[in-house]
Amino acid sequence: MKKTDLKEGISIYTEETDKFDIETFCILLRLPLTRETATSNALVSKILLKGCNKYITEREIAVRLEEIHTVMDCSIMKKGEEQIIQLYFRTEKEFSEEAFELAGNILFEPIFNNIEEAKRDLLSDIEGLVNNKRRYAVERCIENMCSNEDFGVSGDGYAEDIDSVDIKEAYEYVMDNSNVAVMSVGSTKSHDLEEYVRRYLPFAERDNRPADNSYLSSPVKVKEIEEKMDVSQGKLAMGLRLNIDPKSSEWYRAMVANELFGGSANSELFMEAREKESLCYYISSKLLRFKSIMIIEAGIEGKNKEKVEEIVENAFDNISDEDIETAKTSIVNSFNAAGDKAERIMDYNLGQIILDIPYDMAEGAEEIKKVRSIEGVFNSCVLDTVYMLRS
């Protein structure tokens, strides 16, 4: 993506391409993730689409969106130790300007007429997490693992904090303190986007580069957590500290190693736990780059927990350079494929912005190709937390 700095703290990013028949945009308001502000920031994401000066209700905004063939969504993302409010919209080419005009109304002229409704929406999100047991288990694992770090804070906020939020203060805090990135993928030219932003998104200058993530840690004792709930199948989530600098080239070795370890359908974990032992339908590992963490998740019978833990332990010894080329191809492939999806182009670039490293996707793919061996890459990896949800 091509970057242009408009003002201090406000940048625009464009990916000009004629691949797509539509235009995709997002406005990102980046904030530090903290226990004190998580709930109020999340609430701001809920109030924005409830009404603005020109379209005073959620329904009127929705009608306007239909008129201009646009889909718009406002959500909260947690990326490492940042909490990001994202206003995301897709539209047909001829409506780009109208869509930006509406986004400007929504962001800069909210009328806060439905505060109770926004609060209920947020509460419903927070409480609804338990309905997805798989995600719930992973979230609970991270929460316990990182209880002394900002990363342990929930991106959706906390039920008990909702009532006391002053929405206007919260809104002003977000608008004044966030680092702003506006992105477009499609036929929109950089100078067009610049013009839209100048015209409809009058952000003031700000000096607020978010802080770097912390990622080094050596737990002395593994945290074992078990939670009881009425489930047919137990959900296991394991959190490990990689202790690898996410900005270093070592990280690309870790990506390749993870692919072999539990990142694909012919990885060590999948082959052993599912294909050989029939212990589960799903088992996988993924890397959380900003925090240099690995999460392993599996749906298993409670009685098989030790067996699966043993498979995990052995898997570290069983991955080798033998299948390294396949793993590399697969990752390079996913870099290339990401270029076919506007959301993934945006997400990748946001990741690079957060890490403050300049690689575009092609350069990322090149780094993967350079990997020659995975030997020893997980040597400093330590198990931190084992979480099990069972009946």
Binding site: E66, G128, Q233, A265, G339, A342
Partner: protein, 408 residues
């Protein structure tokens, strides 16, 4: 805006190419008009009934061969592969940026033969049992099937796609071979390729290399059902009740019409631009979870309004009242047009993603329709069409399915 090239090949296969100029990745999906609903069929004069979940079981076993695991072979080519089964479709697909041609040959080889042993069947039962248990912990999955169970007494759409632990246990090698021979035929198959490819080359290769069974089986189709649907309540660990309010659709109209009209009507009642939704939210009866889903097959159909909260009875009343209002006072043609146009826009949005584009085309094939029939039907849709469908939203055609917390 929806660009698609199709050809019916000599081997019976219907082939679609979705050209995506400039895309790095290519995707091929090979789908059979065979899904979880097809447990009963007749073949060579015999009536056969198989256990629930057999189509899905067969899907799992296709990835294995005497010597190779196809997942592995695809991965070695730098290609991701996967498969899915639903009521009407079994689809195998792969996607990758390189080795597309070799991938396609591998896909053809994979579906061209079946390798079963007692041992590999036994192993698969263990895996599928865990898959079923995973679904059992998903309240949305449970409620989805309970809604169809409530609406239909005979139609096989009431059974879960994966079957039950017990039905899967009954599946044998002979049964799997029978279903493979009966349904993995050329006429029953579509190949969909999306990406920056040359359609002519795809057609030629498929004609030459894809070898499938001939003959096949006759499917059983079910009559529309009468009689009042029943309400089903289940218990799970959920934070608050989850509800589905489902209405049975008559199948005497084209699938394209049922899809388009169903989407427009459900938007009128549940979208953020809907007055009814606004009112329900204001009264604190509905929240952000309020939405809809249309489930449509050749011989079944359900318009489902869904959400979370305890007030589903009041919501059901409001919906049927509102439908009656529209029946009495009509609905403006501008409103219908705006929603129909928005649905077309959403189809274009979805078509940017090669997987969702291809799976929609596969889905259409198994419902004897075409994606362009649906896209173009939105231009034809008018107030009369809408009201004709709205007439189905009455209480004696309705089920309320609920999953609530234990002891609630």
């Amino acid at each position: 805006m929806i660009n698609i090239i199709s050809k019916k090949l000599e081997n019976g296969v219907t082939c679609y190419v979705l050209p995506k100029k400039g895309y790095n990745e290519k995707l091929a999906m090979l789908a059979f008009n065979y899904g979880s609903r097809d447990v009963s069929f007749s073949k060579d004069g015999r009536d056969i009934t198989q256990p629930w979940g057999i189509a899905h079981f067969l899907e799992h076993k296709m990835f294995e061969d005497e010597k190779i695991n196809f997942f592995d072979s695809f991965t070695k080519l730098g290609i991701d592969s996967n498969a899915y089964t639903n009521f009407t479709t079994t689809a195998y697909y792969f996607r990758g940026c390189e080795n597309f041609d070799r991938g396609l040959s591998l896909l053809f080889k994979m579906v061209g033969s079946l390798y079963l042993t007692d041992e590999n069947i036994k192993k698969e039962k263990g895996i599928i049992e865990q898959e079923i248990k995973m679904y059992e912990d998903d309240p949305y999955w449970e409620i989805y099937f309970n809604t169809l169970k409530g609406l239909y007494r005979n139609n096989p759409c009431r059974e879960s796609v994966a079957g039950s632990v017990e039905s899967v246990e009954e599946i044998t090698k002979d049964m799997l071979e029978e279903s493979y021979k009966s349904f993995y035929t050329g006429e029953n198959c579509t190949l969909i390729v999306a990406g920056d490819v040359e359609s002519k080359a795809v057609f030629e290769k498929t004609e030459k290399e894809l070898k499938l069974n001939s003959g096949g089986a006759k499917k059983v189709f079910y009559e529309d059902e009468e009689g009042t649907p029943e309400n089903i309540t289940a218990e799970k660990s959920v934070d608050k009740p989850i509800y589905n309010i489902g209405f049975r659709q008559n199948t005497d109209r084209s699938v394209a019409e049922r899809i388009c009209a169903g989407n427009v009507i459900m938007n009128i009642l549940t979208a953020k631009s809907s007055r009814l939704r606004e009112e329900l939210v204001k009264k604190q009866l509905a929240d952000t979870t309020f939405g809809f889903e249309n489930v449509i097959g050749n011989d079944f159909g359900a318009s489902v309004i869904k959400g979370e909260g305890k007030d589903y009875m009041k919501i059901a009343d409001s919906i049927t009242d509102q439908a009656e209002n529209y029946m009495t006072y009509g609905v403006s043609s501008e409103y219908v047009r705006r929603l129909a146009d928005m649905e077309k826009t959403k189809m274009i949005f979805d078509a940017q993603d090669i997987y969702s584009f291809a799976s929609t085309v596969a889905d259409c094939f198994c419902k004897n329709t075409e994606i362009l029939d649906i896209y173009n039907y939105y231009d034809k849709i008018d107030v009369d069409t809408i009201l004709r469908h709205m007439a189905e939203l009455v209480k004696d055609n309705m089920t309320i399915s609920v999953v609530c917390g234990k002891g609630a």
